[in-house]
């Protein structure tokens, strides 16, 4: 037994004429389109159009004053992407983001399941308590971590007291990953919870009745059914980790350059907008392709 089939969303209407069916289908399509239209329109105006402007900029030239000349179109910025420095930064960032995502998943999945098994009232309260810390400011939270990890911070004091010796935490790679996990764990928990919570408990009970052990019923029932949540959570976690630049700067001491800070540098230090635009555009294309592939795969295993 591979998986319990999720209920099919097929709409089988009994014995109707083809014309009627076609008309009904057309109406359905219209309805769907109209429902999506407001957001579609909004995103087109306030996202797609600006995006095209940026893509146009990526083919422009940085002038002497750090402005962008909309003339002399060229692909220099894209050529520059092939430099080893850029590649190195890219792979380093992907590795850190992947690590962050895996850790978030490992911590977040059992947590989301735990939430989903509480009673309705407790569940809602607990969910809100997940979010509350994140209504303080992002920067302020990072600074709080800096104090915790710092030289005289509580963590160093504790490890010293316990007898684990003196450890440096602040301004290390570990600190960066910790900060990223802290920052993006809720992005993992929310969709996971939403996905697990709606799973029909009877399916799990049935699997146990059929002598599946706990792991088997997790592997073959729970996990496949919660896959949309796993995918959404991973994406919501991976992408911002890849673009993060505040956390590496505050907790990592900016000692290694990650993709996020490299892009920011192009816009806010080198004032090289064409290159920054080109880099963002390529990054988005890669991420979009990966997301689509990931979703298709996830969709099929469902």
């Amino acid at each position: 037994m591979t998986a319990v089939e999720a209920p099919e969303a097929d709409e089988e209407v009994l014995e109707v004429t083809p014309e009627f069916e076609a008309a009904a289908e057309r109406q359905e399509r219209r309805r769907g389109f109209l429902l999506a239209l407001p957001e579609f329109g909004y995103l087109t105006l306030f996202f797609a159009v600006p995006l095209v402007i940026v893509v146009v900029y990526s083919f422009a030239t940085r002038n002497r004053f750090g402005g962008t000349d909309l003339s002399g179109w060229n692909v220099d910025s894209y050529v520059k992407l092939a430099e080893p420095l850029v590649r190195e930064i890219f792979f380093r960032s992907v590795w850190l983001a992947a690590l962050t995502t895996v850790i978030c998943l490992v911590i977040g999945y059992p947590f989301a399941y735990y939430l989903a098994t509480r009673s309705l009232r407790v569940r809602n309260v607990m969910l809100v308590f997940v979010m509350i810390p994140f209504w303080t400011n992002f920067l302020v939270r990072n600074y709080a971590w800096r104090v915790i990890l710092g030289n005289d911070g509580p963590l160093t004091k504790t490890t010293e007291f316990v007898g684990l010796g003196e450890h440096e935490y602040l301004f290390t790679q570990t600190a960066v990953v910790l900060g990223l996990v802290y920052g993006f764990l809720p992005f993992m928990i929310l969709p996971l919870y939403a996905a697990i919570e709606r799973i029909d408990r009877r399916l799990l009970e049935a699997s146990r009745d059929l002598y599946a052990n706990g792991f088997q019923s997790f592997r073959h029932v729970l996990l496949p059914l919660s896959m949309p949540g796993v995918i959404a959570g991973s994406i919501l976690c991976f992408i911002p980790s890849l673009g993060a630049y505040v956390t590496p700067e505050i907790l990592g001491g900016a000692k290694t350059t990650l993709l996020g800070s490299y892009i920011v540098t192009q816009f806010l230090t080198a004032r090289n907008w064409p290159f920054g635009a080109a880099m963002s555009f390529v990054l988005m294309a890669i991420m979009l392709a990966a997301t689509v592939v990931y979703f298709r795969k996830g969709g099929r295993t469902l």
Binding site: A6, E39, Y42, F46, L283
Partner: protein, 282 residues
């Protein structure tokens, strides 16, 4: 309906593990918050050095016109952008999960872009866009618009709706649509079917998406900074600036005030819900 828990309550070691993990996660979430709260009462300019108890940072916050106006600007923007993005995001999530229509694939891809794009790129492109868009409105239609709270809100919605959509879709995906169909067969209107059948089921997704949108709006610095105008300094932008001058417990005090305010809001809404479900149809 007595569907209290949707998953099987675990036993033995699994239960122990889940409990421990749960509490550890909360500890992880709240450790820095605790520290932040404690140091907001510290009588030392440096966060991290304890200088005895004081309320001076709260007093400074209360006296600072900038800080207060930044706070109210932030709340205004977060509120509007959350409401709008929740409505639009839920609609599109429904459309994508429940309907087939032309252009769906394009829309699907477009929906993911705001999540994928780096902050600063979105910031730059919105700056270019708004400058030109407002100029266009001015020259073609004679509508004079100034950048500020309005352009910030529009931008926040632009990045929030996608997040809402994704979360609501995760909830909708594979959810049994037979209930809706049954309702429709029983002559419920589309709206009634949505309002009384679909919506209660996806409400956790909507709430989750809304919370996410709110968090994103309250945290954004980069995009806000680029589309701002006079009077458009939000709290994160203000705090970001303060940090340049040195991290003082003032920013802790501001955070604590926001924390307390949002907790009050939550408690209030929970109480409201309880009183409604108590007096309602049960």
């Amino acid at each position: 309906m007595s569907k209290q828990t949707s998953a099987v309550e675990p036993h033995g070691w699994t239960k122990f593990f889940l409990h421990t993990n749960g509490w550890l996660v909360y500890f992880f979430f709240y450790a820095p918050i605790l520290l932040l709260v404690v140091f907001s009462f510290s009588d030392s300019r440096n966060v991290g050095t304890w200088g005895g108890w004081t309320l001076e940072w709260y007093a400074e916050f209360a006296e600072s016109r900038n800080a207060r106006s930044a706070l109210s600007t932030s709340l205004q923007i977060a509120l509007v952008s959350t409401v709008v993005s929740v409505v639009l995001g839920t609609m599109s999530a429904l459309a994508l999960e429940r309907f087939e229509f032309r252009g769906k694939q394009v829309f699907d891809a477009l929906l993911y872009l705001p999540i994928i794009i780096p902050d600063v790129t979105m910031a730059v492109m919105l700056l270019l866009f708004f400058s030109q868009f407002f100029e266009l409105l001015g020259t073609v239609f004679g509508i004079e618009l100034a950048k500020g709270v309005g352009s910030i809100t529009l931008s926040h919605i632009a990045f929030s709706i996608s997040f809402v959509s994704v979360v609501v879709r995760a909830r909708l995906a594979g959810m049994d649509s037979k209930m809706e169909e049954a309702a429709l067969d029983l002559y419920a209107t589309r709206w009634q079917a949505f309002r009384y059948v679909t919506m209660p089921q996806i409400l956790p997704g909507i709430a989750g998406g809304g919370l996410l949108a709110m968090t994103l709006s309250l945290d954004d610095v980069v995009i806000t900074q680029f589309v701002t105008g006079p009077g458009g300094t939000t709290l994160p932008v203000y705090v970001f600036g303060l940090i340049r001058k040195g991290v003082t417990p003032l920013i802790n005090a501001i955070s604590v005030v926001m924390l307390v305010a949002s907790m009050l809001l939550v408690v209030l809404s929970l109480l409201l819900e309880r009183s409604r479900s108590g007096s309602g149809t049960a």
